[in-house]
Symmetry: C2
Subunit: 441 residues, 2 copies
């Protein structure tokens, strides 16, 4: 991951960036000294070297079993227990993963919402196919995944019997306590750990993300290798540290009133990664009435939807563009002798070259239109690059949050809707709140 | 579509809304008198009654042929020539449409980007399957769809011969002129019209959207019936007109500094509709350095990603929540005698009821947290409701744009990236611009 700064000229001066050195390094210092707010959630910081090697082997073995005996893996989880794995699989494999012919199972996500239609359709898709389930929940009592797990556990027990179901249910949960851990121990399900010191949105490089990713046929060791290299490289001083400079730039732009960041890519495989980015940064920074509003687009498609706004709308935005240098596959554009559509000016080259010109043309157009463009170059869509990128963003987010002056590791605001929902659902203990809410409805 | 205003109390007073009556009706007057800026693009305004009935029959017939002879329909188009159909099919059928067993063809979208990987994967998916192609482009020279059409035309000709390909290629294009129209006439492809007076983002109720939608098995006449009812009802005076009031409310909130609108739904089937909304409003309003920034979330999934920001982040946002009253299917939650996860407090009812409590709880939490919530009630996910909703948003967008003081029907900013891209790709005629751009890269 390499930061390209030339398309922020005219918006951010070199001097202004240099001025941020002290507070950025101070923020990084808070992180590394483990003395900042939220320091009980820093397990991700040295995870790329300190992770449980035996568990990684168990993950690989479980993935092999699932690949052998299943047509479909159902991943049950919400938020951080869902988005990272899905983003990784779409990025490393394809957004069309489930539609392509392959020798790995289809992977579907359940328990990340409360739509009955979606659940019914998943059950329909599972009909007549061999299924495994990976349920991911620290407590086991989060409404959405717990509801879905009830349904799929019953389905598996009906289809395979209690013993058969046991060999097809994998629980990623708290190491020692909680409803799901207890159930898993009682029933004999294999378990993987959700660490106490790694929050959901920082968990993709743990068993939470790695088991589904391994089932899709990715090399999870390579992911960890990329993250480990990032961990070392991104300790460099400010001047040589693209991660710190990215964190600083975001805050400079925020303070100029550019309080919406649009994550841009030119590959549909990045769409879910951008959702992961929105979760990571939005949940980390959006508190105490501040924080950059995270948004995302996929070009060139969205140049024909959000493109107009970005070019000429309210000047409250900046873009961060992921530039993937090497495509996974390419497509050579041959000349068409007829040339009725007058497109021969772009033939005789690979399609990725045309995509690159769209990227360059757009960055120039948008920056000229008043939108600072930060470019982050990524080598390719390999496991190694993915691991590097994840660590880069995780650290950038933590440092950026400390610069902003918030605890980047909590999410106090997520409880509000849950409490209201419980009260409205007549959950015992919420009677008083229920009365108040009913008056407001 | 019914507007619920109670969750904007405390942000917008009844008086403030009443004050907007004159300028809102004036904006609507500009529209209906066809005297406002962009009045050459008002074909959508009476489309629900004035549409070409013979063409609709041809659309239905073509859809029947495609359903009979194809396993896959490839829809080639970008922007307005892509998003509406996809949004409709996901909303009316399912976001998992291509993964479900069904008696209608899979539908994939090409030419909406320049990713070689995505194109290669589509070609892989087509292998060994019967294909039809619907290419949608007014001129036939827009880079992305024209490139994709070259590829799929060649594929079909190779697979079926020139005659076979002819019967499988459907062109939605200009009625009389342009590259694609000429090619279609020469080769004998069936054509459908893109009207001169309906812009891309307003085109889903024309052949642009209706042919793919009909192929998915939807009743397109019902869609037009819904739109026609909306067209009549939404001429009512301000006090009885939810569409006008929605347009007014957006502008009130924008003027209070709530310049980001988040479109919210609780059904994954709405995700692409929200993208359609972003295109419609973003491209219509984002100009002259103003306009509401359109964003979208899908709850409850995104309560665990963007939820924290919405609850407690920068107070620049308001939410517009689509409340679909009747689910397409439901799922009864049975008691679990073990109740290890303590979820029995929400059993003995349908899952849609739990989803509704999540909706109510969230609206209360977010509005209490400082985010005005506009609720739009929609009866169900039927074709009729879809047609009504599309017309509602189209008209709200036009009126809102006029209130804001922009031409809601042009998109001057979309040319900037195209011109740069052409110059960088050595397109003849762009030599001078190319030199300047190369200096900036």
């Amino acid at each position: 991951m390499k930061l390209v700064k030339k398309y922020i000229h005219g918006f951010v001066s070199e001097e202004s960036l240099r001025t941020m050195k002290t507070q950025t390094e101070a923020a990084a210092g808070l992180l590394h000294s483990r003395t900042g707010p939220g320091n009980e959630f820093l397990g991700w910081l040295d995870l790329p070297v300190s992770y449980d090697k035996d568990e990684l082997e168990r993950i690989k073995n479980a993935a092999e079993r699932i690949k052998k005996n299943s047509d479909v893996l159902i991943v049950i989880g919400i938020g951080g227990s869902y988005l990272g794995a899905r983003a990784a699989i779409e990025f490393l494999k394809s957004p069309l993963y489930n539609n392509l012919k392959k020798d790995t199972p289809d992977i579907y996500y359940a328990g990340n919402g409360i739509s009955p239609e979606y659940l019914n359709e998943l059950l329909e898709i599972c009909e007549g196919r061999n299924i495994s389930v990976n349920v991911i929940s620290k407590s086991g009592t989060t409404t959405e995944p717990a509801l879905a797990f009830r349904v799929f556990k019953k389905l598996l027990e009906k289809k395979y019997g209690a013993d058969g179901a046991r060999s097809r249910i994998y629980c990623t949960t708290d190491k020692v306590k909680g409803t799901l851990k207890e159930l898993a121990d009682e029933k004999g399900y294999e378990t993987f750990a959700i660490a106490d010191d790694i929050g959901g949105r920082y968990s993709v490089l743990t068993a939470v993300g790695l088991l589904p990713i391994a089932v899709s046929g990715c090399d999870v060791s390579e992911i960890m290798r990329g993250a480990a290299v990032a961990m070392e490289e991104l300790k460099a001083p400010f001047e040589q540290n693209d991660c710190y400079q990215y964190a600083a730039l975001r805050n400079i732009l925020y303070r100029c009133g550019k309080h919406t960041e649009i994550m841009v890519s030119y590959d549909p495989a990045f769409v879910l990664m951008a959702e992961w980015y929105k979760q990571l940064f939005g949940e980390s920074e959006g508190k105490e009435n501040k924080g950059i509003f995270p948004a995302a687009v996929n070009f060139s498609a969205d140049l024909h939807s959000m493109g107009q706004y970005i070019q000429e709308g309210l000047r409250i935005i900046f873009e961060t563009v992921i530039d993937i240098k090497k495509p996974k596959t390419d497509f050579f554009l041959e000349d068409d002798p007829e040339n009725l559509d007058s497109l021969n000016f772009l033939t005789g080259q690979n399609m990725s070259e045309v995509n690159r010109k769209a990227f360059e043309g757009t960055v120039l157009a948008h920056s000229q239109g008043g939108v600072p463009n930060i470019v982050l170059e990524l080598e390719d869509r390999s496991e190694y690059s993915f691991g590097y990128m994840v660590y880069f963003f995780e650290k950038a987010c933590a440092v950026s949050g400390y610069i902003l002056g918030v605890n980047p590791f909590n999410q106090p605001g997520v409880e509000a809707y849950k409490n209201n929902m419980f009260a409205l659902l007549n959950k015992p203990g919420y009677e008083k709140q229920r009365e108040e809410l009913l008056k407001r409805l």
